[in-house]
Amino acid sequence: MSMEEVFHPMQEPMILAAAISIVVGAVVIVAGLTYFKKWGYFYKNWLSTVDHKKIGIMYIATALLMLFRGGIDALLMRAQTAVPDNGLLDAQHYNEIFTTHGLLMILFMAMPFVIGLMNIVIPLQIGARDVAFPRLNAVSFWLFAAGCGLLNLSFIIGGSPDAGWTAYFPLAGTEFSPSVGNNYYSLALQLSGIGTLMTGVNFIATIIKMRAPGMTLMKMPMFTWSILITNVIIVFAFPVLTVALALMMLDRQFGTQFFAMQNGGMDMLWANLFWVWGHPEVYIVILPAFGIFSEIIATFARKNLYGYKSMVMSMVVISLLSFLVWAHHFYTMGHGVMVNSVFSITTMAIAVPTGVKIFNWLLTMRHGKIQFTTPMLYALGFIPIFTIGGVTGVMLAMASADYQYHNTMFLVAHFHYVLIPGTVFGVLAGYHYWWPKMFGFRLNEKLGKAAFWFIAICFNVTFFPLFILGLDGYARRMYTYSESTGYGPLNMLSFIGGIGLAVGFALIVYNIYYSWKHMPRNEKADVWDGRTLEWATHSPVPEYNFAVVPTVTRLDEFWFAKKEGRDITAGKIEKIHMPNNTGTPFWMSGFFFLAAFFAVFNLWIPAIISMIGVFGFMIHRSFEKDHGRYISVEEVMATEKSLRGDK
């Protein structure tokens, strides 16, 4: 590949502008860190941290950044289709943008937002001092970051993937996608996927083995349950993606015949492998949101969660069914009536446990004294909007009817109606809810609520027209259409809604700045009058989480203890064992990044050298003697005193 080809995307003025802004941004950050002499602080407190709370914050920061990158992609798509025969983007650029929009939003926005929240909250909710494997947790984050960086690099160097986020073969093969875009796809997703798999292992071990004394499985908070189930899905779904991506790489870069059109290859094999991972993936990002809503609705309705056992059961059933529905993504692609019928039935069956959950949330609120805080607004907005997504999902589940909906905007509207009120509202609700726990001050409620109304209303303005367009036969992934189709007005409406959505998300970020400047500090530990253990410790949380690990006797122990005037964190303070910080995960992932980057361009020798670096760090880790360190009783007492505000 010549240098000219490598940098060909830059010939596009918009990409050049984006590239320049990235370079300028990077220079500003580097210069700023140097000028304020913050490199040491940055490395010691962030790059080399193994603290689950800081790792969680880094996940969420990356997720917000990617929300904007993916959001700009979305706005460009809506702008391009706002009027008929528009020339803002050409077909190739449009292909790249809808591909990266999907990849970024699912894998580098929704996933890290969810994983960030679970990092921050889970150890606190189960009364643990950290996750089971703090170092592995850092490895997970940095591998995810490496994958994220690699995919974002693609649109500047070499070209973005352009075969859709599903990358169906033969379109994604070298014959029809000769650029390196889909090499980036396989390698960037591979890196972050391995990171996610490690997260899955880590959190299963954490939740199964590290709960506070007395917290049996059926006394766990609902968010913890949702995360346990999510991670089980991760561990069983992500290896399928690992294999699929490896086969894609082999096909594209080593000339194998897995998904080829000749020599016995089978293109449908990719579609099956992709969705065997891809459908459970949908539940990986939705179940944590269900958990978050369960916490928030119980807290702000001032009632215990209705139907705890049925909530757990329905999540378990959803997780099992999530592995049995993958073929509904391609009913029209040539499997027989029998197969379609089976997958139709399993798909519709998912509506049952989901319906159970919706009714449980409604019944939790019945007779409750509801407080309309920002997180609660998201939870309340979620129920009706998500139900529209669910009902259209059942429509799509019917195989015979799907021949009408397949690959139209109806489908696009459906999955945005599930993922935005489900996952996005969920993580935003969790973000507002747990923010005081992370930083010790609240986000401004007025701005938060304004952002909610912007997002909730403009979401419907953006996506409801797409249902109608889809039923009218407007196919997805078309970069333009002629005026005679009559698709223009509704597309324009959708574009206007998209701008409103952007305003809403901008308000959320402005709120960080505003609240940081103006909101009172030293919030008390239990800002929302919560029910679960994370509210028992200080805000912000000290690095050891709990000076004394609380003992649990029932569900919502903290809530009942409060009513009885009992302090569950009282007890004798002992010295606390904590893991040491380490830069190894950061540097090792850096070498992984280099290896993957070189591999994208088939530069195998530098790639192998980089992999030797990766193994070097593994060997270093194996031989290292690191037994962690102890925080002394005096130090714990001093920290506790200062956090309580005693003088």
């Binding site: 089971a132 494997f133 798999l197 899955g200 292992v201 880590n202 299963i204 071990a205 199964i208 083995k209 590290m210 561990v235 069983f236 779904a237 992500f238 290896p239 399928v240 690992t242 294999v243 699929a244 490896a246 086969l247 082999l250 096909d251 080593f254 000339g255 194998t256 015949q257 897995f258 080829a260 000749q262 020599n263 016995g264 290859g265 089978m266 094999l269 492998l273 065997v276 064992h577 193994f615 060997i619 194996s622 031989f623 037994h627």
Partner: protein, 199 residues
């Protein structure tokens, strides 16, 4: 770090127990990984294009040797862990070394097998069947290779640091990994080679 002396060394601390549990979960993911590769293989098994099929290229003798070596190595690593449990460092190391040598022998035969295939014109690019076969075998072989270096690193640590909760934990987890590769091989032997030779 609290050491519970009523338990074997590898289980004696909280951290050790966590690591063993975590590794079992990881092996769950590995099962899915190999299950997916087997599924791909079974799907593409008959899709040989213009290339040879299994019966035409498989040879029973080297495969039996591979099976014999790997199964024996699983037995010897079991003896190694038993030696570790009774605190016999020398015997433990001897059994681990034998295990790794048997693994090396397995790899040697497997590499020879691959070379033979390529010489016969059956490369990973020839047909979907061969792509799937060599990816499945290659993934298993890479696991054994990785295991070999991992085992060497652990042996060096046991030699220089003796048997303590950390080294015992590492050796035990390594033995889980090694047994797992053996189980995968049994499936490869039965459902790839034997089944392929029949058809």
């Amino acid at each position: 770090m609290k050491i519970d002396s009523s338990l074997p060394l590898e289980y004696s601390t909280e951290e050790n127990r966590l690591k063993i549990f975590g590794f079992w979960v990881f092996l769950g993911a590995e099962i899915v990984l190999f299950a997916t590769l087997f599924t791909v293989y079974f799907t593409l098994q008959t899709r040989t294009g213009s290339g040879p099929n299994g019966a035409e290229i498989f040879e029973l003798t080297p495969v039996l040797w591979e099976t014999f070596l790997l199964l024996t190595s699983s037995f010897t690593i079991g003896l190694g862990v038993h030696a570790m449990r009774i605190g016999n460092k020398k015997a433990m190391m001897a059994f681990f070394i034998i295990t790794l040598l048997l693994g090396l022998g397995f790899l040697g035969i497997e590499i020879d097998e691959f070379v033979t295939y390529v010489e016969e014109g059956a490369t990973i690019q020839t047909s979907a069947f061969l792509s799937a076969l060599m990816t499945l075998l290659g993934t298993h072989g890479l696991h054994v290779t990785f295991g070999f270096f991992w085992g060497v690193a652990i042996l060096i640590q046991v030699a220089s640091r003796g048997l303590n909760p950390q080294t015992a934990n590492k050796a035990f987890i390594f033995s889980l990994y090694w047994h797992f590769l053996d189980v995968v091989w049994i499936f490869i032997f039965s459902f790839v080679y034997l089944k392929g030779l029949i058809s």
